[in-house]
C-alpha cells in the first residue's frame, strides 16, 4: 500500500521537474483549454484507469472475492 502510494510519486516528481525546466508558453489558440468537459473527462478517466490498474488485482482477491463467496454462502 505504502509503496503503491508513495513510490509512484518519484517518477511523477521527475516528470514535474522536467516540465518545470521548460519555458512558460503564453496561452494561444494552440493551447488546450483545460476548462472544457472533454479535458475533465480525460483527466478523471486517466486517474480512474491508472488507479484501477494499480489496485485491481488486490481488489479482486479482497472485496470482490468476498462478495462472490458471500453469494455462495461462505462467510468468514
Amino acid at each position: 500500500m505504502l509503496v503503491g502510494r508513495f513510490a509512484t510519486i518519484l517518477p511523477a516528481l521527475a516528470l514535474a521537474g522536467s516540465l518545470a525546466q521548460k519555458r512558460i508558453v503564453p496561452a494561444s489558440s494552440a493551447s488546450l483549454p483545460v476548462a472544457s468537459p472533454l479535458f475533465v473527462i480525460m483527466l478523471v478517466g486517466t486517474v480512474i484507469i491508472v488507479g484501477a490498474l494499480t489496485f485491481f488485482p488486490v481488489f479482486v482477491l479482497g472485496p470482490i472475492l468476498d462478495h462472490l463467496l458471500l453469494a455462495t454462502g461462505r462467510t468468514f
Partner: protein, 678 residues
C-alpha cells in the same frame, strides 16, 4: 527527384530489418529502452523455468510458449526500430548515389592542378570545376559564377546560378556545373557531409533522445515500476491466502501490464519522423529540432520566395495627364526590351497585350543602346536618336527629370502613392524631361500560400513576414496573404531581434534563411532551416537543411513535428488503455482453480485459464507489428484546434485502446483452442 518513401513492406528492407532485429537483443543495446529490457529479463527467467521443466520431465508446454512469445515481443519491437532505421538509410542512400566518385581537380600550391578521387578531398581543399563537371563534394564557391544543375538532389530541373560572394555560394556534392568555371572550397570531409550526418541520425544507437522522448520514458519506467509492485504484492496477498502463483504467470502478467506497445515503438516513431522529413528533401541535424518543430508557435518568413513569387509582375499602366496609354506602353516596351529581369519581361508582355502586338521578337530600334539598371542610378532605359527613355523608382526618375528641367506631375505622385499603399511597387517612366506615367508592379502570391497560412492559424501558429519593403506595402501584402504580423523595412539584424523578442515572450520560433547575415538569427531560432543553396555559415548555424531551397517547406516541417508528438501520445494512450482488458483476461484465470466463482470476471468467456493467459501475451506481442505502419506513417493529422484533435484521437486511441484488445484476445483465444495450444 522527389524521393518516394519506400513501400512499407518493401521486401529487401523487411528482410534487412529482420536480420538487424536479432543483434539488438543484446542487453547492452536494449539498455537504451528500459521497458524492453524488463521484458527481456522476464523472458530469460521464463526460458530458464521452461528449461528446468524439460530437464526434470515436467510438462513444459505453457512455460515454453510464454517464453517464446516474450522473445517475440522484444523481436517485434527491435524489428520496428530496425525497419525505421533501414528506411531512413535507404532514402539517404538514394540521395547519396547522386554523388559520383568522379575525379576532382584539386588546386595545389603553385596553382597546379592534380587529379584526385573525390573521396580524398578534405575540408579546406580548393577544387576547380568546369563546364559539364560534377561538383565533387559539399562546398562553397570561392571564385567564379556557374550555372548548376541540381536536379540530382532537388528534382528541380531548372538550373540555378551559384556564385562566389553572395548568398548563393553553397554547392552540394553530386550536382553538375552546366556552364562556367568555378573554384570551390570544400567544406566537409568525406563522411561528414550533411547526408552522412543524416544517416548517423537514423542509427538509433547514435541518436540522442529528445527531451520529449526522455519525459515519456520516465513515465513509462514509472508505469513499469508501478506494475512490478502490483505483481509482487499480488504474490504476497496470494501467499497470505495460501495460494501460490507460478513465476511464469507473474512474468506474463507483468509483461502484459507494462506499456510494451509504446515502449517498443517509441524509437521507431522518432526515426520515422526523420525519414518523413527526408522524403520531403529536408535533412535534420538533430532530433531535438524535429521535435521542437511540433511545438513551434511563431514562424518567421521572408516575404520573397515564401509568400510571394520571387519576382514582381507588371499589371497596369497609369499614364500621366495628356499622355496616351499607348504612348506610355510603347516607351515602357522600348526601355524594357533588353531588360532580362523577370520584371522587365513582364513589362514587355503587358505592353504587347496593351498594344495588341503578337510578334514574338520585337527588336530594339537600330543604333540604340541599353542602359542597364544599377544600384546607384536605380533606373534602366534606352537611348537612341537623341531619345532617352528611362524607367525606375519614382524618386530616381523625379531627380532625373528635374535635372532636365521637368517635374513630377501631381497625378503621378498620387498614383505612385496609391500603388505603394496597395502593396505594389510603382515604376515611373520618363522620356527626357517629360514624365509619361507609372507602371504598377505587383507581388504575386504563391499559389496556395493563403490556405496554408489559414491552416497554420488554425493550429495556433502565428506567421510573421519579414520584408525590406516599406511598412505600407508590407501591410498590404500581409493582408492579402493572411499573415498575422509583419516587420517592414527590415534590416538584417531585424530577424535576430524579432526572434529574441518572441522567445522572451515564451514562444518557440521557427525560421528559414539562406544568407550569411541570416546565420545569427538561425543560430538563435528554435527550429532553423537553412536552404541548401545558402551560404556555409547559414547551413552550419541551422539545425535542418532543405535540399530544395524552398522556403515554404517550413510549413511541412512544422506539420511533421506535430505529427510525431501526436503519434507518441496516441500510442501511449492506446497502450495504457489496453491494460484494462488484459486484467479481465488474466486475473480470473490465475485464481480460477481455487476460486471458480471469479469466472464472472471472465467477461470474454475465454476457454481455459491457460488459453486466457496465452491469448493475452500473444495479443501483447502481435499488437506491436500491427502498429508498425501507424508509427512509421504517423497518426493522420489535419490542421485543426488542439481540442478537436484531442477529441478525435481520444475517441480512436483511447476508446479504441479499451475495446480492441477485448475483441483481439477473444479471437486469439478461439484460435489457441482451435489449434490445441493450451
Amino acid at each position: 527527384m522527389k524521393i518516394n518513401m519506400p513501400g512499407l513492406w518493401q521486401s529487401d528492407l523487411v528482410a534487412q530489418a529482420v536480420r538487424d532485429s536479432i543483434p539488438k537483443l543484446d542487453p547492452r543495446s536494449l539498455w537504451r529502452n528500459p521497458v524492453m529490457l524488463a521484458v527481456e529479463i522476464g523472458a530469460l527467467l521464463t526460458t530458464l523455468i521452461s528449461a528446468g521443466d524439460i530437464i526434470q520431465g515436467r510438462p513444459y508446454g505453457f512455460d515454453a510458449q510464454i517464453s517464446i512469445w516474450l522473445w517475440f515481443t522484444i523481436l517485434f519491437a527491435n524489428f520496428a526500430e530496425a525497419l525505421a532505421e533501414g528506411r531512413g538509410r535507404a532514402q539517404a542512400e538514394t540521395l547519396r548515389s547522386a554523388r559520383s566518385e568522379a575525379k576532382a581537380h584539386r588546386i595545389i600550391p603553385g596553382d597546379r592542378i592534380e587529379d584526385v578521387s573525390a573521396l580524398d578531398l578534405r575540408k579546406g581543399d580548393l577544387v576547380l570545376v568546369e563546364d559539364g563537371g560534377i561538383i565533387p563534394g559539399d562546398g562553397e564557391i570561392s571564385e567564379g559564377v556557374a550555372l548548376v544543375d541540381e536536379s540530382a538532389i532537388t528534382g528541380e530541373s531548372a538550373p540555378v546560378v551559384r556564385e562566389a560572394g553572395g548568398n548563393l555560394s553553397g554547392v552540394t556534392g553530386g550536382t553538375r556545373v552546366l556552364s562556367g568555371k568555378v573554384t570551390i572550397k570544400i567544406t566537409a570531409n568525406p563522411g561528414e557531409t550533411f547526408l552522412d550526418q543524416m544517416i548517423g541520425m537514423v542509427e538509433s544507437a547514435k541518436r540522442q533522445k529528445t527531451p520529449n522522448e526522455k519525459a515519456l520514458e520516465i513515465l513509462l519506467i514509472g508505469l513499469t515500476c508501478l506494475f512490478l509492485v502490483v505483481v509482487v504484492s499480488l504474490q504476497a496477498f496470494a501467499g497470505y491466502m495460501g495460494l501460490s502463483i507460478a513465476a511464469t504467470v507473474l512474468v506474463a502478467l507483468l509483461v502484459c501490464l507494462m506499456p510494451t506497445t509504446i515502449g517498443g515503438l517509441l524509437p521507431a516513431i522518432g526515426i520515422a519522423g526523420m525519414d518523413r522529413l527526408l522524403s520531403h528533401n529536408v535533412i535534420a541535424m538533430s532530433g531535438r529540432a524535429v521535435e521542437a518543430s511540433g511545438d513551434v508557435d511563431v514562424v518567421l518568413m521572408d516575404k520573397t520566395g515564401t509568400i510571394t513569387l520571387g519576382n514582381r509582375m507588371a499589371t497596369q499602366f497609369l499614364p500621366a495627364v495628356g499622355v496616351k496609354k499607348e504612348e506610355l506602353a510603347q516607351a515602357a516596351m522600348f526601355s524594357s526590351l533588353a531588360d532580362e529581369t523577370p520584371e522587365g519581361r513582364s513589362i514587355v508582355d503587358l505592353c504587347k497585350e496593351t498594344l495588341g502586338i503578337r510578334g514574338r521578337d520585337i527588336r530594339a530600334p537600330e543604333g540604340s543602346s541599353f542602359i542597364p539598371f544599377s544600384a546607384e542610378s536605380r533606373m534602366s532605359g534606352i537611348d537612341w536618336d537623341k531619345r532617352e527613355i528611362r524607367k525606375g523608382a519614382h524618386d530616381a526618375i523625379g531627380e532625373y527629370v528635374e535635372q532636365r528641367g521637368g517635374s513630377m506631375p501631381e497625378d503621378i505622385r498620387a498614383a505612385v502613392e496609391s500603388i505603394a499603399r496597395e502593396g505594389g511597387t510603382p515604376l515611373v517612366v520618363a522620356e527626357g524631361s517629360r514624365i509619361l506615367g507609372a507602371i504598377r508592379l505587383k507581388d504575386v502570391l504563391k499559389t496556395g500560400i493563403r490556405d496554408r497560412l489559414i491552416n497554420l492559424r488554425k493550429v495556433g501558429i502565428r506567421s510573421v513576414m519579414i520584408t525590406g519593403d516599406n511598412p505600407m506595402t508590407a501591410a498590404a501584402i500581409a493582408a492579402e496573404a493572411g499573415i498575422d504580423d509583419f516587420i517592414g523595412q527590415a534590416r538584417p539584424e531585424a530577424k535576430l531581434e524579432a526572434i529574441r523578442k518572441y522567445q522572451r515572450e515564451g514562444h518557440l520560433v521557427a525560421m528559414i534563411g539562406d544568407g550569411t547575415n541570416d546565420a545569427p538569427a538561425l543560430a538563435q531560432a528554435d527550429v532553423a532551416v537553412a536552404m541548401n543553396a545558402g551560404t556555409q555559415a547559414a547551413r552550419e548555424a541551422a539545425n535542418m537543411v532543405d535540399l530544395d531551397s524552398n522556403p515554404a517547406k517550413l510549413l511541412d516541417i512544422v506539420e511533421i513535428g506535430k505529427q510525431i508528438l501526436i503519434t507518441r501520445g496516441a500510442l501511449t494512450t492506446f497502450s495504457v488503455a489496453n491494460d484494462v482488458s488484459k486484467y479481465f483476461a488474466i486475473i480470473p484465470a490465475v485464481f480460477a482453480a481455487e476460486y471458480p466463482m471469479l469466472s464472472v470476471l471472465n467477461v470474454m468467456h475465454l476457454a481455459t485459464p491457460t488459453s486466457a493467459m496465452l491469448s493475452a501475451i500473444i495479443f501483447n506481442a502481435i499488437i506491436i507489428p500491427l502498429l508498425i505502419p501507424l508509427s512509421l506513417r504517423g497518426v493522420h493529422y489535419t490542421p485543426t484546434t488542439a481540442l478537436e484533435l484531442l477529441r478525435r484521437n481520444l475517441l480512436i486511441y483511447g476508446l479504441g485502446g479499451l475495446a480492441v484488445p477485448f475483441i483481439g484476445i477473444k479471437l486469439i483465444d478461439m484460435l489457441v483452442i482451435f489449434l490445441h495450444l493450451e
